[in-house]
């Protein structure tokens, strides 16, 4: 079993091209997929660069498999070539002057001479690129390049795998292939896999652990499902795609029945029990756009609302209301209610999450 323990800080002063930035993160990654999720410029790729040794942090400590890769206080900074951190780059970084086979063979040079050929062949086979092994990177498709890039990384026998936005530029079918590959890798190689993304779906398709990056810090960490259920604050809820964030007052709390009475939008609502909150507290609630139902008549947990505007999505129609609520509707539901003067938006109690 190998673990990655990382504590890193790195700051950049203001420069003509960018504002000042400071990275300050601490986390442990166990075998399995740890997803680094956040907006561009939050420090995700910088974290990978520090772990792989391309960028030297200002302070902190990096332990992989109980081996020190970096320790500021002991002045240890192992060079990238000795870290055994497999890095799959955003642009794949396949050597353009080598065929796919030669790319893999380059990575195999650290292995015993007799082993190399067989090992490279096995990897080509495993990632379904044997057919294209004699071609150069510019002669193969994006998906093939990506598989080759992952295969090449594995040939070198990494103790840790770093993937920088591997799904970027891939179409939906290739993304699913990639997720399948990642699931296979997770099962077969018992090493930590760090995956950088700003695609929420990817976090859930692949992740065992989710680290939410916000301005150079880890704002929240945990299992993806749990993080989604309990965003630590309104900003994180926003990052996680909650569009409906609003304030409510607690009127009653009942831990035994796991319910609460709330007032929001001038209306009484039923919610779940919110641990650590008290009667009379004001709290931020969030609800996903797809969890809100639309009705024609009033009733419990239904908020009367006026439709402001709509916009098309692939499978749904996004409707914006006053008071400030956003709902993703099926086309059928929209057609059924489109002529209503007043819509009634029902938020089920379990969908009202504190943040």
């Amino acid at each position: 079993m190998s673990d990655l323990q990382a504590r890193l800080t790195k700051s950049f002063p203001t420069s003509p091209e960018s504002a000042a930035f400071a990275l300050d993160v601490e986390f442990t990654a166990s075998p399995g997929v740890t997803v680094l999720f956040g907006a561009s410029g939050a420090g995700k790729t910088l974290t990978l660069d520090c772990i792989s040794g391309f960028i030297r942090p200002d302070s902190g400590r990096l332990l992989l498999d109980d081996r020190i890769l970096y320790d500021a206080s002991a002045r240890v900074h192992i060079p990238p070539r000795d870290r055994r951190c497999g890095y799959v780059f955003q642009n794949y970084a396949l050597f353009p002057h080598m065929t796919l086979r030669e790319n893999l063979a380059f990575a195999a040079e650290g292995r015993p001479r007799l082993d190399r050929h067989r090992f490279v062949n096995d990897m080509l086979e495993r990632f379904h690129i044997t057919e294209f092994a004699a071609r150069y990177p510019y002669e193969v498709s994006g998906g093939q390049k990506q598989r080759c890039s992952i295969a090449r990384t594995l040939v070198a026998g990494p103790k840790l795998l770093l993937l920088d936005e591997p799904a970027r530029g891939l179409d939906t079918a290739l993304r699913e292939d990639l997720y399948a590959i990642l699931r296979d890798l997770r099962a077969e190689y018992r090493i930590p896999i760090l995956l950088v993304t700003h695609d929420l779906e990817e976090c859930f398709a692949t992740g065992d652990q989710l680290l939410i990056y916000l301005n150079g810090k880890i704002a929240q960490a945990g299992e993806p499902r749990k993080v989604l259920d309990r965003p630590a604050n309104a900003e994180i809820a926003g990052i996680l795609g909650y569009c409906n964030i609003f304030e409510a007052e607690i009127l009653a709390l009942d831990p035994t029945r796991n319910t609460s009475r709330l007032r929001a939008f001038g209306q009484e609502l039923t919610g779940t029990y919110y641990p650590g909150r008290f009667l009379g507290d004001r709290l931020q609630l969030c609800a996903q756009t797809s969890s809100v139902r639309v009705r024609s008549q009033s009733g419990p947990n239904r908020i009367p609302a006026k439709l402001l505007r709509t916009s098309e999505r692939t499978l749904t129609i996004r409707a914006e209301f006053s008071p400030n609520l956003i709902v993703d509707l099926t086309r059928a539901a929209y057609d059924q209610h489109r002529d209503d003067k007043t819509w009634f938006l029902e938020i089920p109690p379990e969908s009202l999450k504190a943040c």
Binding site: S52, F54, P79, P80, R81, D82, R83, R84, C85, G86, Y87, F89, Q90, N91, A93, F95, P96, H97, F106, A107, E109, G110, Y138, R152, T153, V155, A156
Partner: protein
């Protein structure tokens, strides 16, 4: 009238050897500049650029002083090879090499700095040493630019006059290179010899520049 082609062939030989030497030195220094931190790095950087900006006679004078029969290097050469270095065709090689080095170094360094970092990073993360990264990734990726620069360096070696004259002199059938022979021919009124040598050098140079341009233009496709 008998035309003496010796200077032309001597120049070809001198320029070929000088080009190979300056290519080796250019790559070695480019590697040094890219990968090794040492004191006086910027001084060495300025020093290798000097031959590009100094007047050739001044460069030749410096070489003459530092490689002459009373200098330590000149004495060492005499002990090792049993004869003086200056005023031999080997001295012409050295003059041409020094003359061509800055051009190669500058081109190679410029080319290397254009290599996308992720290739070199990928190679390092795969466990490759800096030496392997340089020879297997960086240099192959810029090989066209290196070849094009080498071709130009060859042309520059071929055309050296001042430094060669200072260090190797003008000894017919021993150190008289084509540039010097043309000058002598014009001075001595041997118009036909001068014309033929000029034509030969021009033809060769045009071929070289054409070749170099073709290589440069194909640099887009790796």
């Amino acid at each position: 009238m008998q035309i003496d082609w010796f200077p032309f062939w001597l120049s070809l030989r001198v320029a070929s050897i000088a080009t190979l030497l300056s290519l080796a030195a250019g790559l070695a220094l480019a590697y040094l500049f890219a990968n090794v931190e040492f004191r006086g790095k910027s001084l060495l950087d300025a020093l290798v650029t000097l031959p590009l900006v100094l007047p050739p006679t001044v460069l030749g004078y410096y070489l003459l002083v530092s490689l002459g029969r009373v200098s330590p290097i000149g004495k060492l050469y005499e002990v090792l090879f049993g004869g003086p270095l200056v005023f031999t065709w080997q001295a012409a090689v050295i003059a041409s090499t020094v003359h061509a080095i800055p051009l190669l170094i500058r081109s190679i360094r410029a080319a290397l700095s254009s290599v996308e970092h992720s290739y070199e990073r990928a190679a390092r993360s795969l466990g490759a040493s800096e030496w392997r990264v340089f020879w297997r990734i960086s240099v192959p990726l810029v090989r066209r630019q290196v070849v094009a620069a080498t071709v130009l360096a060859f042309a520059r070696s071929l055309g050296d006059f001042g430094a060669t004259l200072m260090l190797a002199g003008d000894i017919p059938h021993r150190t008289q290179t084509v540039s010097i022979a043309i000058y002598d021919a014009v001075e001595g009124g041997h118009t036909l010899t001068a014309r033929l040598l000029v034509l030969a050098v021009s033809g060769l140079t045009i071929a070289i520049v054409y070749l170099s341009n073709r290589l440069e233009h194909r640099r887009g496709t790796v």
